[in-house]
């Protein structure tokens, strides 16, 4: 199986990339072969294969970037990379679990590794704070999750997703079940950083090393969403009517608050944290009235978002390093200093803002279309108005690059960054123009 191979490959980056390529291939081999592993604890279906593939690609990007990022700290690079592989492993479990125990296990593998990574700049107080804060808050969420699972076990007598689904379909649902469901929902909302459980995310994003932030805002967010969707789609679909009002309020406030707070940010990482919150809101929008096609829409949106974000972070890491400054003003005059990097970041920002022909646009389109199809017209209007607000802060970065006066710091790029940035751009355009390659996977 996919997961075992992972743990062996932690020696060097090329080896890891090779390993990831092999895993990616093995993962694709599983396509169209519905299988169960470990006494039905994991279920490999189209959904899990598609999301795992995305997760592997994202991690491959991050590993390529890590060579240069950890150049000054190469003594510990093997530790970092190993932990990142654990994160990937946890994410894959979260996409393919078929048993509540595996869900918990996946989340914990991912989270514990992430606590360490967030605090991995040992001599930086902010990084320590980030790790500690994330750890404290995350443990609470895990507690909720575990409690929820226990309550659901109490109601249904099983950890098994299929059994729980049968129980729900049978009607006659005990109140404990609903309490358990709410608890699990809270935990999942915490993991995807939805309002009002979002407070950890800006601080942690800001404090953690930039590369870890990149990983958090893409892989981890998508993993949490993948698990969330799977849980609801398989188990709670028939009971979702009870939660849809709550979810609608959470969605609206996530989109609005994330966007409005992002407007006033000066730190680029915080900006992306808040924009990430609002993107989580858009994804939730797809979740509210879900039907068959929603998984595709969510997958497409996640892919577009992840690719654009990784591209943005790749540029940002270079700029931060040269300027020793993580605020938006670090980008001042980048259009003159390094036009290619500026163009790349511009395209990433345009994709995040949802401007065609980039993937972000069709992603938004699919989500809105699902929502309208499911009758959520008012929420869609809220989302549309917020996409307009979103343009404002994404353009703040673009404006800084093209209109502000540069200083004389030279920002140079190197091969590994160029590869990642150009692949991200090509992918973003490619899936923006040919969405069919992704849209029929699940």
């Amino acid at each position: 199986m996919v997961v075992e191979i992972l743990d062996l490959r932690k020696i060097l980056v090329p080896m890891i990339i090779l390993g990831l390529a092999i895993i990616f291939y093995l993962n694709l081999e599983d396509w169209n072969h519905l299988q169960f592993f470990y006494n039905n604890m994991l279920r490999i279906d189209h959904y899990s294969v598609a999301f795992s593939g995305l997760a592997i690609i994202i991690s491959a990007f991050v590993f390529v970037l890590s060579v240069d990022f950890y150049k000054d700290d190469s003594r510990h690079i093997s530790d970092y990379l190993a932990i990142m592989l654990f994160i990937l492993c946890g994410a894959i479990v979260m996409f393919s679990y078929w048993n509540m125990a595996m869900l918990f296990l996946g989340i914990e593998i991912l989270s514990i590794s992430l606590y360490i990574m967030a605090g991995s700049k040992r001599f930086d107080v902010r990084s320590n704070e980030a790790g500690f804060k994330y750890f404290l808050m995350g443990s609470f969420a895990s507690g909720f999750l575990l409690f929820g699972i226990a309550l659901i076990y109490g109601a249904t007598g099983s950890f098994h997703l299929a059994n729980i689904a049968t129980y729900v379909a049978g009607g006659n649902i005990s109140p404990i079940f609903y309490v358990g469901m709410m608890m699990m929902m809270i935990a999942m909302l915490f993991k995807v950083a939805a309002v009002p459980f979002h407070f950890w995310s800006p601080d942690v994003y800001e404090g953690a090393p930039a590369l870890v932030t990149a990983l958090m805002s893409t892989l981890v967010k998508i993993a949490a969403f993948g698990a969330f969707y799977r849980l609801f789609y398989v188990c709670f679909l028939d009971t979702i009517g009870y939660t849809s009002l709550i979810l609608a309020i959470v969605t609206a406030s996530t989109i609005i608050l994330g966007n409005l707070t992002a407007l006033s940010q000066v730190n680029f990482k915080r900006l992306l944290a808040y924009s990430g919150i609002s993107h989580a809101g858009y994804l939730l929008l797809g979740l509210i009235g879900m039907k068959g096609g929603t998984a595709n829409a969510i997958f497409y949106y996640s892919s577009g978002y992840a690719i654009a974000t990784i591209g943005a972070f790749a540029v940002a890491i270079l700029v931060f390093k040269a300027m020793k400054n993580e605020n938006i003003e670090a980008f001042n005059g980048l259009g003159k200093k390094n036009p290619l990097l500026a163009a790349a970041l511009t395209m990433s920002m345009l994709s995040l803002a949802g401007i065609p022909p980039f993937a972000g646009f069709l992603g938004k389109y699919y989500i809105f279309s699902e929502a309208i199809n499911n009758g959520q017209i008012l929420l869609t209007l809220v989302a549309i108005i917020n996409s307009i607000i979103g343009v404002y802060y994404y353009f703040k970065v673009i404006l800084a690059m093209y209109t502000k006066i540069p200083d004389d710091t030279v920002i140079s790029s190197n091969v590994s960054y160029n590869i990642v940035i150009s692949i991200c751009l090509i992918l973003s355009l490619l899936i923006g123009i040919y969405p069919d390659v992704l849209m029929h996977l699940i």
């Binding site: 809105f368 279309s369 309208i372 209007l381 343009v391 969405p435 029929h440």
Partner: protein
């Protein structure tokens, strides 16, 4: 296949311009745009011979939602493409002999803009059209942002967000249309065929969603507040692209994507829209009279003109539609001429303030003649291109409602007031310190203004080809728009 060539040629050109380096960029861009113009002329000849049937190109693109790469050119699209491809070389030529920093980026963006504009005019699939519509915003935003005036940052951001708001409302409209339409398709043929099957309660919504997007782009009062600032802050070529071609995206879309697609929405709300248009005409004309800044004056005169065009479209009769098409072409040519004259004046005197100029006629007679022709064209003197369009438009509005047409007719009087007053203050009188050193036209300026002057007069004397090209397309659209 011809349509594909016309569409993608500018895209290739824009890449080549980018690669050609700063020194050659303007010449390469001009060369390619002239070739594109030649292709367009050939297409026009083919169209005269065998009609629009050869120009359709259909390919499945995205299966869910059903979006196809469906492009084509009927008479209406062809005229808009001709306008675009006629103006682009002129716009590029107008930038010769000017110092432009990072010229390769500038000209590359202009040709890229041409690509996106043509895309808007030839797209026959709703979402494809939407994508080009948005795509056109990006190059013009960067043109204005990097090469614009001192206050460009705020102004262009306002412009971008304003128009994007409209676009997103339109996207919302398209998604609604897709779900409520029994055929579940974005293809224009399906949308036309099923237009009357969409419930009229939904059509009211759809009407306003689309109208908002187009009204912002055109702009129709009260959605015009982005416009004057953007025109005056954008570099000359940017203003020309905006006023000459990009405005026409809005009016073209009214004809193509609004009135035939939501006929009962138009029947219900069209009267309100037409009143807005007429109010806009008077309002913008009055403001134009008060303007001191040349570029702003032209911007407001533009609002008045396009207000009349939109009013003619909502009148829903053949005269109105024909008039709007002619006037779109005429206004495109005239406004490019006006902005170029403003650029010539600014380039020599560093001032656009009407009060500070005067007496230019004495020192630059050739410029004076050309400027006079352009001004006369835009005040709609008979035998210039502006006359035919305005006459037909007023005629169309008159058939719709006499009173509205009386108010709309004010545009001719008020237009004459502000344009001739401006001409008088700028060109006549005695020279002063700023204008006494005014040099006469350089070769490229002569060429540009000469072509524009010829176009103004030729179109004014012999507009018939425009009518014959546009007629079949407009008939289809009108018959669809009038179904209850």
């Amino acid at each position: 296949m011809m349509t594909l060539l016309i569409l993608f040629f500018p895209l290739i050109a824009s890449l080549l311009v980018l690669l050609s380096g700063n020194k050659l960029a303007s010449k390469v861009a001009l060369l390619f745009s002239v070739i594109e113009l030649a292709i367009t002329f050939y297409v026009y000849l083919v169209y005269r011979q065998s009609g629009a049937d050869n120009f359709y190109y259909f390919k499945e693109w995205i299966s869910d939602p059903k979006i196809s790469f469906h492009i084509g050119m009927d008479g209406l699209s062809l005229l808009m493409v001709i306008l675009t491809n006629f103006l682009t070389p002129i716009i590029i030529l107008s930038a010769f002999n000017r110092n432009i920093e990072n010229a390769k980026g500038y000209f590359s963006l202009i040709t890229f803009m041409q690509f996106a504009l043509i895309g808007v005019f030839v797209a026959y699939d709703g979402l494809l059209y939407y994508i080009f519509w948005e795509l056109a915003l990006i190059p013009i935003y960067f043109i204005a942002l990097r090469w614009g005036g001192p206050n460009r940052v705020n102004v262009t951001l306002k412009f971008f967000i304003y128009t994007l708001t409209g676009s997103l409302l339109m996207l919302f409209g398209f998604i609604m249309l897709y779900h409520y339409n029994p055929s579940h398709s974005f293809d224009i043929r399906e949308l036309y065929a099923n237009a009357s099957k969409v419930c009229s309660c939904k059509q009211s919504w759809l009407f306003w969603l689309f109208f908002a997007a187009f009204a912002i782009k055109i702009p129709i009062v009260p959605f015009h507040t982005w416009q004057a600032d953007t025109y005056s802050e954008a570099p000359t070529q940017g203003s020309m692209l905006l006023a000459g071609i990009m405005l026409k995206m809005g009016t073209y879309s009214l004809i193509r994507w609004l009135i035939p697609i939501v006929p009962s929405g138009v029947a219900e709300w069209g009267p309100y829209a037409i009143v807005l248009c007429v109010v806009g005409i008077v309002y913008a004309s009055v403001i134009a009279i008060m303007q001191k800044d040349l570029k702003k004056l032209f911007a407001y005169s533009s609002v008045a003109h396009v207000g009349l065009i939109s009013a003619g479209i909502f009148a829903l009769n053949m005269q109105g539609l024909q008039g709007s098409v002619v006037q779109m072409l005429a206004h495109g040519v005239n406004v490019v001429g006006l902005f170029f004259c403003a650029d010539i004046i600014f380039n020599r005197t560093k001032s656009l303030n009407v009060e500070g100029l005067g007496g230019i006629r004495n020192v630059a007679p050739k410029f004076n003649t050309m400027f006079m022709i352009v001004v006369l064209g835009s005040v709609a003197l008979p035998l210039t291109n502006g006359f035919i369009g305005e006459f037909l438009l007023l005629f169309g509005v008159y058939e719709y409602n006499t009173w509205l047409s009386a108010f709309a007719g004010l545009t001719i009087i008020l237009g004459a007031v502000y344009m001739l007053r401006m001409y008088q203050k700028v060109m006549l009188g005695n020279t002063n310190d700023t204008t006494s050193v005014f040099g006469d036209l350089m070769w490229n300026e002569k060429l540009v203004l000469g072509i524009i002057a010829i176009a103004i007069i030729v179109m004014g004397i012999y507009p018939k080809p425009v009518f014959t090209i546009a007629e079949p397309a407009l008939k289809t659209i009108l018959s669809n728009a009038l179904i209850k």
